[in-house]
């Protein structure tokens, strides 16, 4: 896991359309940009651009099938990013506990 990878995953997930694309791929297993365009209110052209961002972040992988690319999810980068965010959240839990102790014992 590199820092660049975590950054790209977070940036990729920051966009609501891309999160919907990931949800759609999770439901369908694999899908082409054309199929995805039928299920989301976004043009095929826009979906291709979003898939490129998701591919760079390592969250999806495309394989050529005939004239189209079939995309599937790759959960590994998300696992690493979720672990990182869990650690940040756990630090806040510890800090909030410390604040509580200080406030209640003042």
């Amino acid at each position: 896991v590199t820092s660049a990878q975590v950054e790209e995953v977070l940036a990729a997930l920051a966009d609501p359309t891309r999160r919907r694309l990931l949800d759609a791929l999770a439901r369908h297993g694999e899908a082409t940009a054309t199929t995805l365009a039928e299920t989301l209110p976004v043009t095929r052209q826009a979906i291709v651009k979003h898939l490129a961002v998701l591919t760079r972040a390592g969250l999806v992988a495309g394989a050529r099938e005939g004239r189209e690319m079939r995309y599937r999810l790759r959960p590994e980068p998300l696992t690493a990013t979720a672990a990182w965010m869990s650690r940040v959240a756990a630090q806040w839990d510890a800090r909030l506990d410390a604040i509580k102790r200080l406030a209640e014992n003042g």
């Binding site: 999770a26 590994e76 998300l78 990182w84 909030l96 209640e104």
Partner: protein, 147 residues
């Protein structure tokens, strides 16, 4: 779900003014957030709070919102000790204090991870789970953390 935001909350059996003091007064801050020595703090929007979490590690945190005793927000460049927090190098930490029966609900949100450049040594590699357990589960885990 906002992917680059962490939210946490806790209920504290103390009045909001007391919790506000723990968040803003140097002697109290030094007991949970600036353990090395009490911070210098210029408590106003735009003011600087110098946290010292260890020898040689000063965090030049920029106050964004100061509305006692309910709202406090600052930009925290936790990945860049010694550098003043800007929008490019920091996350936004927001505290909201709400009076509730018997005390205060304290909520903290830290956001802006997506736009942040994280130095490699700050990104953990331990605990990386290379086993793929399915996207839906991982997304749910991330959602729980991020929501």
């Amino acid at each position: 779900m906002t992917a680059d935001r962490i939210e946490r909350e806790i209920t504290i059996a103390a009045p909001v003014e007391r919790v506000w003091a723990v968040l803003t007064e140097p002697d109290l801050l030094s007991q949970w957030f600036s353990q090395h020595k009490p911070p210098e703090i210029d408590l106003r929007p735009g003011g600087l709070m110098r946290l010292n979490q260890a020898e040689g590690y000063d965090y030049l945190t920029r106050l964004v919102r100061v509305e006692p005793p309910t709202h406090l927000a600052y930009r925290w460049a936790s990945a860049y000790p010694g550098e003043e927090a800007t929008e490019a190098n920091s996350t936004l930490v927001e505290f909201t204090l709400t009076p509730v029966d018997g005390g205060t609900r304290l909520r903290v949100a830290e956001s802006g991870f997506a736009a942040l450049t994280i130095p490699p040594e700050r990104v953990p590699v331990a605990g990386y789970d290379s086993h793929v357990k399915g996207w839906a589960q991982k997304l749910e885990e991330l959602r729980e953390v991020a929501e």
